[in-house]
């Protein structure tokens, strides 16, 4: 045994070793295979991971780059995520600060938002929601929202996501469009033209009330839309004066399809219509045509009346007796009328295009015209006289009324002058001047003459007086009482004669020529007068109120009041005589009155008292010139005098003098 057994044992060990080695080999290869697989799996896994991550980032990119604002929020409205457009739209950056969308809702839309939110929760989404939001900067924006709920794995809502679009501008544009459309339709409705728009099939697309009125269509314009116009011309031709040509012209227009504007149609009742035909092409395809009709009856009549007026005035201008000249800013003649041509002594061809002043004026007068023209450029119109030398070599005087001439843009383009030949007038004026001069001279001569005459008349009076005195002296005690009284009468007569001559001289010297006017204090003068002239004790002369100052000759004023006062005093027969001087202001004049309670003047004499040498009594001391002098003085200053009187009661003289 032993050996056998050992052998057996040996062999058995040998087999076991081989089996183990086999198993080891299998294990080894299996584990290698596993490793291989693991490695392969890892690679695959990596690849997968990469793929996933790439896809996620692609999505992220899409999300961030979509044009519309994309917002994710939780159920409280807190924004979890939003893209750039959303940040721009909401004017908010999440990086800086969290944002709750509810805070942005326009207060007026709060209710609307809660309604949308309820729908969102219930249906899981909302579409076409429109709300207004207010941004940080205060902008109110109208936004359009499409949103859906986000659920977790357990189907529990955890938030919402949505696309937000700013439709503020779009809405505004839309509204504008609507407005403009409504304006347009209103405009068409209210046009004073009748409008008819037909499509390519001659169906009415649009018309207005005016059209219906013009064509006497009883239906409202809306009712006509869609109706066909094939027979319209036939139906309404009777409204026109020439129905046949009305139909023909419409057929022709429609055949030609060319725009024809401003055709005039006379209606049967006399009204005049103006018609436009406008074919409408879109991309060169005929789409219909537009008719417009306007009632221009009034306009036509107006134009006719304007034409008539124009004709009338140009007739007047052409035929008037006034020369008309139109020049430009350089005094170059632009237009003349027939009369100007006649006046100037030149032909129209001579005048047009030439400087008027070169043709007609000498140097001095030219300067005058230049001065006037420069005033014209300041816009002033005036008239002036000028001396011209006509084409015939005649010297004439013209009165020119010139005015600046403007074009329709209001620019100064020259001046227009109306010319009147005043040579005859001028000559008369010169004649008058020389006459006045002559008259003044002869007046002066006359005054001299009056002085000489008065001197020559007075001298013999002096001689007579002296002789009478000597007669009395030489025969003292020898003349009878009667003879002496004759001598006295001679002396009295001489005195009267003297006074008469003085007064005639005085009267003749009341002319404006040698007037030395100044401001005269009448109050002073009259008070002085009263103290100088003899006032009997039984007469009281009073000035009722302080007399004014007038512009006059002091001496004349003295003469005036002296005459009136002396009369008032002299012709007073009352026990207590009263003479009053007063004045009041009337129509820019001082109206004075000298009132007395004297003998008065009979009505029959009232007209005569201011005449020369009129005496109403036999008073020897009166010359009858006093009141004539008074009247002449008052009239010299542009005043008037009149008298009111009642015999035995008294007289009042009224007179006026200009108030300075």
């Amino acid at each position: 045994m032993q050996s056998n057994e050992i052998e057996i044992l040996k062999r058995s060990v040998e087999r076991e070793r081989a089996a183990r080695k086999q198993a080891e080999r299998i294990l080894e290869s299996k584990s290698a295979e596993l490793f291989q697989r693991t490695t392969e799996l890892k690679v695959a896994n990596d690849k997968l991971e990469q793929l996933v991550s790439r896809q996620t980032s692609e999505l992220q990119g899409v999300f961030e780059n979509i044009v519309d604002a994309y917002v994710v929020m939780d159920l409280e409205g807190n924004v979890l995520k939003m893209n750039n457009p959303a940040e721009e739209l909401l004017e908010h950056s999440l990086v800086q600060e969290p944002l709750n969308l509810n805070s942005m809702v326009h207060p007026e839309d709060a209710e609307k938002v809660s309604h949308y939110f309820a729908v969102l929760v219930q249906d899981g989404s909302i579409t076409d929601a429109e709300i207004r939001i207010k941004t940080v900067s205060g902008h109110i924006k109208l936004v359009h929202i499409n949103a859906s709920m986000i659920f977790d794995k357990a189907d529990k809502p955890i938030g919402a996501q949505g696309i937000v679009r700013d439709i503020t501008l779009a809405r505004r544009e839309h509204e504008k469009l609507m407005e403009s459309e409504s304006r347009l339709s209103k405009l068409i409705a209210n046009l004073d033209s009748g409008v008819l728009l037909e499509d390519e099939n001659r169906n009415i697309a649009l018309t207005n009330q005016q059209f219906c009125d013009l064509f006497k269509i009883p239906a409202p314009p809306e009712a006509l839309i869609g109706q066909n116009c094939e027979n319209a011309a036939e139906q309404s031709k009777h409204l026109f004066k020439d129905p046949k040509s009305f139909v023909l012209s419409i057929d022709e227009l429609l055949a030609n399809r060319k725009t024809v504007l401003g055709e005039e149609l006379v209606m049967d009742e006399g009204r005049i219509l103006e018609r436009d035909y406008i074919p409408i092409f879109i991309d060169e395809v005929y789409k219909g045509h537009l008719w417009t009709y306007r009632d221009i009856t009034l306009k036509r009549k107006y134009r006719k009346s304007i034409d008539a007026q124009r004709q009338k005035y140009s007739g007047i201008i052409a035929n008037m007796n006034l020369g008309l000249l139109e020049v430009d800013n350089d005094d170059v003649v632009q237009m003349v009328n027939q009369r100007f041509i006649e006046m100037s002594g030149y032909s129209e061809a001579d005048l047009l295009g030439k400087k008027a002043s070169d043709l007609l004026l000498d140097k001095n007068e030219k300067e005058k015209i230049w001065k006037k023209n420069s005033e014209r450029s300041k816009g002033t119109a005036d008239s002036y006289e000028i001396q011209v030398i006509t084409g015939n070599g005649e010297q004439r005087y013209w009165l020119i009324s010139g005015a600046p001439n403007y074009n329709i843009n209001g620019e100064l383009i020259g001046s227009i002058g109306i010319h009147l030949d005043i040579t005859e007038l001028k000559e008369l004026e010169l004649q008058k001047e020389s006459l006045v001069k002559k008259l003044a001279k002869s007046n002066k001569e006359l005054e001299e003459y009056a002085h000489v005459v008065s001197h020559d008349l007075k001298s013999p009076l002096r001689s007579l007086y002296a002789l009478t005195s000597w007669l009395r002296e030489e025969n003292e005690g020898e003349f009878s009482k009667e003879s002496l009284s004759y001598l006295e009468l001679i002396e009295q007569t001489l005195e009267k004669m003297e006074k008469l001559i003085s007064n005639v001289l005085l009267y003749s010297s009341v002319t404006s020529e040698d007037d030395k006017v100044s401001r005269v204090n009448l109050d002073e003068i009259v008070r002085q007068l009263i103290s100088l002239i003899h006032v009997p004790d039984h007469i009281e002369v009073s000035i009722k109120k302080k007399l004014p100052k007038v512009i006059a000759d002091e001496t004349r004023m003295q003469q005036l009041f002296q005459n009136l006062l002396s009369n008032a005093i002299r012709y007073n027969d009352k026990e207590k005589g009263v003479v009053e001087i007063d004045y009041q202001i009337q129509k820019g004049m001082y109206q004075f009155c000298v009132r007395d309670n004297g003998i008065g003047i009979k009505e029959a004499y009232l007209d005569k008292i201011f005449g020369m040498f009129q005496r109403l009594d036999n008073d020897e001391s009166s010359t009858g010139i006093g009141l004539s002098i008074v009247k002449r003085i008052i009239e010299l200053y542009g005043g008037t005098i009149w008298v009111e009187s009642e015999p035995t009661k008294g007289t009042t003289f009224y007179f006026t003098l200009p108030k300075p």
């Binding site: 001299e448 002085h451 001197h455 001298s459 002096r462 002296a466 009478t468 000597w470 005195e495």
Partner: protein
């Protein structure tokens, strides 16, 4: 006081006026001597001939031939005669005359009044006045 006797040249064409002056002087008791000249020419002749050198001249304005103012002008051009005081004695109240006379140079301007009594007074005053003046001819 005894008044000086004056030699008065009266230039006057009216004979009664001459009588008036002479009579007045007599009536007033004056001793003045009156030399008459019928007009300006006459007066000039007398003056230039040296026959007479009056103390004063009484001159009427309205005269034939050379009138008063013309005479006055000629007088004022004479180197010697111009110093004789000349008083105008006239009826002319013409202001133009009055101004012209003073312009040429006069010693006075007396208006002849209507009444002889008034004339007497005026002549009295005038002659008395000149008789108390210092005059060239003396």
């Amino acid at each position: 006081m005894k008044l000086k006797s004056l030699t008065v040249l009266l230039i006057e064409d009216d004979q009664i006026e001459v009588m008036k002056l002479k009579r007045s002087i007599k009536q007033l008791g004056h001793t003045h001597k009156v030399v008459e000249a019928k007009n300006g020419e006459d007066a000039l002749q007398q003056l230039t001939s040296g026959n007479v050198l009056p103390d004063i001249i009484l001159l009427d304005l309205n005269m034939p031939k050379i009138n008063g103012i013309e005479f006055l002008k000629i007088l004022k051009e004479d180197a010697k005669l111009r110093y004789i005081p000349t008083v105008i004695l006239t009826t002319s109240e013409n202001r133009t005359d009055l101004l012209a006379c003073y312009e040429v140079g006069i010693a006075g301007y007396i208006l002849k009044p209507l009444k002889y009594e008034d004339y007497l007074k005026k002549i009295d005053c005038t002659l008395q006045y000149w008789s108390v003046n210092e005059l060239i001819s003396n």
